[in-house]
Amino acid sequence: MLQDFLDFFKLTGFPDVTWQMPVMWSVCLVLFYLAVYKGFEPLLLVPIAFGALLANLPAPALVSEPPGIVLSPLAGELVEWTITPGTHVKEGDLLGRVKDPDGQIHELKAHSHGQVTELKTSPGEPVHEGEELLNVFSREPGGLYYYISKGIEWEIFPPLIFLGVGALTDFGPLLARPITLLLGAAAQVGVAATFLIASLIGFSPGEAASIGIIGGADGPTAIFLSAKLAPHLLPAIAVAAYSYMALVPLIQPPIMRALTTKKERLIRMKSLRQVNKLEKLVFALVVTVVCILLVPAAASLIGMLMLGNFLRECGVTDRLVKASQNEIINIITIFLGTSVGITMTGERFLKPETLMIIGLGVVAFGVATAGGVLMAKLLNLVLPEKINPLIGSAGVSAVPMAARVSQVEGQREDPQNFLLMHAMGPNVAGVIGTAVIAGYYIATLK
């Protein structure tokens, strides 16, 4: 009976627990604590942390690929097979070796469990990237998160989140004072500066772009860009982006105060004019056309953002607006968060690069904040009607937290000064600006 019990123990997950797993459980606990008790972006951090917990339990079936045809990962020559038709393989088993044109040998490993039914190439034959090499058969269909994670891999989730963001965003303050678009643009300096620093440290251009985009303070765009350019850094980038968005009220005020004088912080801005429906509708169409013409790579983000906004402003699609603002964005948020979390395996996350990314994230946020504030000061040199530079910091997206920070900082100096609606202009401009610079990086680096 004892032997039966011991045999059963071998079937449980305990023997497969690695040292990284308990470490990652504690990382998950920290994320849960920040989300649940400190209120750090709980809508995203809770699903991310839960996904990370699932990823660090011995449950490979949750993410396993479905069996099928195995493709060659590179062009070269097939050196040997280590299996024969009829061999049963499991995920990670060695299937064979491929030599690239430089003579380097690469191992070919199984992505799924199953039985090898057919070898389509013989050793010594040349192979092309993407060529069918062998077939693995099994009746297992693949894990739940293999399919859900396709939403990130195929770039479906971030644009759908943008649909909801568009349906929730009022571009009225931006239209009432279009010059604030420049504040949103200036904040993207943080993205560029962090790219530069990350490159100097040794990150590749794709990795540096994905790290830099944290400064845009726009989670879906950060996920969209890193899924394209540096998928292996996705978990660290997503965690850094969402954690720092929650820390906006702590990161921004010291920079805002350091870069402005008391006189500047006391500037009272004239009330915004009322913007009519036609202006808002035309704006949605103009942004769609202009931005997609300039940066086609950002088409899915900008297109969905403006679709959501057009639905909101046209006034005749109430049901669609409600679906975009609630059901769609909520369901996608759960899938997006857990799909990001499921990539946070110990092997991928517990690396020195993660700490570097988290450090560079602060730099990105700080420079972006400074960029917006300094642009506002620059504009004040030429504009007859002065802008309170405190609204420049709202150029980092983080809607509406960054605008709220401008309001609170303004009221510290003058309790009767209301900057909130003025700050919403650069705040929503930042969303467009981040999508544009992401499109630039994708177009040039992919």
């Binding site: 279009p178 678009l181 309790p415 600006g433 610079i437």
Partner: protein, 128 residues
Amino acid sequence: MTALVPLAAATAGAEQLTFLQNLQFQAVGVMVVMTSLGGLAIVVAILAALLAPMHKPARAASAAVPQAAVLLPGEIPPEVRAVIAAAVHTVLKSPHRIVDVQPAANPLLQAWSMEGRRQIFQSHSFRR
């Protein structure tokens, strides 16, 4: 900026850029963003000049019908005021007069409602 195409080729090959190449790459990126959003600002300003005059405030219908008293955001409902007055009367006993009733929360936290109220006040002009 003629070097952008070879630069893009270098970056696409995941080669490490030199500092100057990288600086140029970032400068072009910032220029793309500034041009896009700056261009949009100009288009929006032109749109506003063309479309804003078309806006006619719909006031005739609403002016004809007297509106029921609507509570402003953050305003205390009359029944709550009555309860507060009764509570004060019960506790104080001695002659007193309630001058004002204010929410106890930190005014900094009511920024949204204060901004809304300010906008409503600003949208009406006094008749002289």
